[in-house]
């Protein structure tokens, strides 16, 4: 074990203990994987087998897996252990989990190069290295046993946390071998199992994180309670970039339980004995803001700037054949412009962060998708070196990209620097929505040419909007382009002989942008799948048949399209006012076809009744999680299609709570069917594809029902009245 590892282990000890103790209280068979005897004492490194940063086996035989990805509902605390346990030959009920501490070197996501959970790539990134981690440990344990027994390693095998000498039937459990295994040099090369040898991967595993989530014992960042805790809530400048001018706090300070008012350059916080007093205190403050240069800004201004930007050339993201020439020679030309709005994340757990600033060091309790980023940015805000900042990660009450950002931790540190003792800063829902970092607004200008038969012979798209990557991961932004912003706009599933896509980066003034579930594809798949639908309509052809004819070189895409169409009863009659729409995509390494069935009422309101999904995500790790993630992604996307829009007026976000920023509710939720195509390809991402595809599927279904093409989201019922 490296010294890095020792230091960072110490930093997570407290959060691990509180997390595990809490989950242990949940009881029940399913919690085994997270249970821990209270009063646990760590075995010393001399008695522990730690072949890598992910596995630790003590003399007691306890297998501890350190989770480099964080659980936010996507099932990663079950599927990642499945990868390790498969090769380590232990059952899921035999492992215990720990959140990984901040350490970019040990726990970076191989596909991102940083320690983060996002972009649907935990399984994709972990697929090889974490199975190798398990196999390495298994080989060393087997070697240790064979030496003890004086037999050839080839006569030993591992099963269920034990090494077995096959000829004699002798057995030693991993705990008995831990000390000796630690002395064995790691193998230079490991051979991984073939898919037909899997015992765990592909079988339905019960989620290890669920039991604490049905009895209130699961701990999120917002539940942290270090001793002596005070509670704070805040108001930030309602116009982005504005400043705090003046605060009259006399009424607030008179409220029972209010302890302190903290003034920052662009925010003010009320510190109290409980959040009730803090909120009451906040409402009693008389605050004057200096709005600054964005005071007159509206969404319309930003949209106009983006529209103008699509008139000028930008960096070429993909260029195949000669789109300009093919357009000029096309029998028919189809043009369209699409707009997608700013969107808030609206995680159910509002933004929060608990900080104890002690001058020379700082301790942080938070649920984050990017713990190393939080540590680095909090350290900067605290004026401390990163190793003086301890971060305890927690279960996340909704990430969706919001918790890839460290702004909430930075804010909490700024406040905590003025507070004696630990303080939990909880944003009101209004602050959470009005000071989110938003899915960018996008404008696309797109054109295609069709030949005499209606087949597309040219495709040309230029779009403008913010590059989140350019800010968040600058090295990945090169020559004006990044792989996230263009995903879903290029490398389409269809055979398009003349294809040209440009991206113009425009950072909107006065509103911060960030990743939002299904990131680049949340925008690009809406545009490409709406537009291919427009081409089918222009060619007077069936939307599924039209797509299918372009898929001769893409059997995986064709298979999911055909399966979804068949299961949805594509082509069968529907009652008046109803329509079906389809969308097809290959994003995050997975192929997904979705058919939405919608009903448009006379008042223009849209109801999504049924969604059929056919998925080829390669090898399936945990089948029920795949189902759950598609269901979840669909609901998230339907919410965006029906309601999602953040607007600015006079520089202020107009939406504030769930009355003005609506979420889909159970009485409006569609039924969802998910069909999986068996595949031997490496696993693809699952957390987001359901979201990016459903929005155009719904829009295309509205077209089928009404003949109205929706080129701007969300759906405006006024335009659909009959």
């Amino acid at each position: 074990m490296t010294s890095d590892r020792k230091a960072s282990d110490a930093t997570v000890a407290l959060s691990r203990r509180s997390f595990l103790v809490k989950t242990a209280l949940a009881g029940g068979g399913l919690v085994l994987g997270l249970s821990l005897p209270i009063g646990e004492s760590r075995s010393s490194s001399a008695e522990t087998f730690e072949p890598n940063a992910f596995i630790r086996i003590g003399r007691d035989g306890q297998v501890v897996l350190t989770m480099p990805y964080v659980e936010m509902g996507q099932g990663t605390y079950t599927s990642i252990p499945m990868l390790i346990a498969e090769e380590l030959e232990v059952g899921l009920e035999q492992v215990r989990l720990e959140h990984a501490p901040p350490n970019e070197k040990l726990y970076a996501n191989p596909l991102l190069g940083v320690q983060a959970t996002g972009n649907s790539n935990a399984i994709r990134g972990a697929w090889k290295p974490l199975r190798e981690a398990g196999a390495t440990a298994r080989i060393m344990l087997i070697e240790a046993a064979s030496r003890r027994w004086g037999v050839g390693a080839g006569h030993c095998r591992a099963e269920a946390g034990e090494v077995v000498h096959t000829p004699s039937g002798r057995r030693l459990n991993y705990g008995e071998l831990a000390v000796e295994a630690a002395m064995i040099p790691p193998p230079a090369k490991v051979v991984l199992k073939n898919a037909d040898e899997f015992k765990l991967i592909g079988t339905p595993a019960r989620r290890l994180d669920v039991s604490g989530k049905v009895n209130g014992s699961a701990l999120y960042g917002i539940d942290a309670r270090p001793p002596g805790l005070k509670f704070a809530t805040l108001a930030q400048s309602p116009v982005f970039g504005g400043r705090l001018k003046k605060v009259d706090d006399s009424a607030a300070m008179a409220i029972k339980g209010v302890r302190q008012i903290v003034r920052l350059d662009d925010a003010v916080a009320v510190v109290a004995d409980h959040m009730g007093a803090a909120k009451k205190g906040l409402a009693a403050l008389r605050i004057e803001w200096e709005d600054g240069r964005h005071a007159g800004l509206s969404t319309r201004d930003i949209a106009r700037e983006l529209e103008d930007a699509t008139l000028k050339a930008g960096p070429v993201a993909q260029d195949i054949g000669d789109a300009a020439k093919a357009l000029a020679g096309a029998a028919t030309r189809v043009q369209a412009s699409y707009h997608l709005p700013f969107l808030a994340h609206a995680t159910m757990e509002p933004m929060n962060c608990t900080v104890h600033f002690r001058g020379h060091e700082c301790e942080i309790w938070v649920g984050t998708q990017a713990i190393a980023r939080v540590q680095a940015m909090a350290a900067k805000a605290a004026g401390l070196p990163p190793d003086k900042v301890t971060v305890h990660n927690h279960l996340i009450g909704g990430g969706f990209g919001r918790r890839l950002e460290a702004d909430g931790a930075v804010r909490a540190v700024e406040i905590a620097r003025q507070v004696d003792g630990p303080v939990k800063v909880v944003w009101t829902r209004e602050e959470d929505i009005q000071h989110d970092m938003y899915r960018p607004y996008w404008v696309d200008r797109i054109e295609a040419g069709l030949d005499e038969s209606g087949r597309p012979v040219a495709w040309s798209n230029r779009f403008a909007g913010s590059s989140v990557i350019a800010r968040w991961l600058p090295p990945a932004f090169r020559n004006g382009l990044d792989p996230d912003t263009t995903e879903g706009a290029i490398d389409l599933v269809y055979s398009l002989p003349n294809f040209h896509v440009e991206y113009v980066r425009v950072e909107p003034p006065g509103i911060p942008t960030a990743f939002w579930r299904s990131v680049g594809p949340s925008h690009n798949v809406f545009v490409t799948e709406s537009f291919i639908d427009e081409l089918a309509a222009a060619a007077k052809q069936d939307a599924v048949a039209y797509r299918r004819a372009l898929l001769d070189h893409n059997p995986r895409a064709k298979a999911v399209l055909e399966l979804a169409a068949e299961k949805a009863g594509w082509g069968t009659p529907l009652p008046q006012g109803r329509g079906r729409g389809v969308a097809l995509q290959n994003v995050f390494g997975s192929h997904l076809a979705q058919v939405a069935e919608v009903e448009v009422a006379k008042d223009g309101s849209v109801r999504v009744h049924r969604v059929v999904c056919a998925m080829d995500c390669g090898i399936v790790v945990n089948p029920d999680t795949v189902q759950a993630q598609i269901q979840s992604g669909v609901m998230f996307g339907v919410t965006a299609a029906l309601y999602g829009e953040i607007t600015l007026k006079s520089g202020r976000v107009e939406q504030a709570n769930f009355d003005t920023y609506q979420m889909l509710r159970i009485d409006q939720a569609p039924s969802i069917e998910v069909y999986l195509v068996k595949s031997a390809e490496p696993p693809g991402g699952m957390g987001e594809a359901g979201t990016s595809g459903i929005v155009p599927a719904v829009a295309n279904a509205v077209f089928a029902a009404t003949g109205r093409r929706l080129r701007k989201m969300p759906i405006d019922p006024d335009t659909l009245k009959t």
Partner: protein, 156 residues
């Protein structure tokens, strides 16, 4: 001012203003963090508890309005027949994803089943549409309620 309220069968005294929402008394004063904050305006249902067996939003229920009423939270709902059934069904269908809203979902579902042991889809819509789940676990919430009710589980 001091108030004594019955929480999960135990009298608890707290010294707060009378207009303090029960939510913050539970979470911050009593340290019972299973009940969640979502919106503060009774729009999302994350803070749902039972007051004398009725589902209420604790974020707008002031401590001075409780009086002799009995408060039941997620931490104790497994001690009721409906609550235990709902929790088992939630595990069986693996309803939770991020799980943050699920305390509130379970409290609403338990109140529904205690009142209507065999709810129709319309009953489920009525009782559950005040609870937002951002992870969109609605398909499983519906199935789990039907399982808990012992009725045939079928997709709508």
């Amino acid at each position: 001012m001091s108030f004594t309220i019955d929480v999960n069968g135990i009298p608890r005294s707290v010294d707060v203003d009378g207009d303090t929402p029960l939510l913050w008394v539970l979470r911050d004063v009593l340290g019972m963090t299973g009940t969640k904050f979502g919106c503060g305006m009774a729009l999302c249902g994350a803070c749902t508890v039972h007051l004398d067996s009725a589902a209420v939003r604790s974020c707008i229920t002031t401590v001075d309005s409780i009086g002799e009423g009995k408060v039941t939270t997620i931490e104790a709902i497994g001690g009721t027949s409906a609550g235990a059934k709902v929790q088992r069904a939630w595990l069986e269908h693996e309803v939770p994803q991020c799980g943050y809203c699920q305390s509130g979902q379970i409290m609403s579902a338990s109140a529904l089943l205690a009142d209507k042991p065999h709810p129709t889809d319309a009953d489920i819509d009525d009782a559950m549409s005040g609870n937002i789940c951002r992870c969109g676990t609605y398909v499983r919430i519906r199935e789990a309620i039907k399982l808990a009710a012992g009725s045939q589980v079928k997709e709508r």
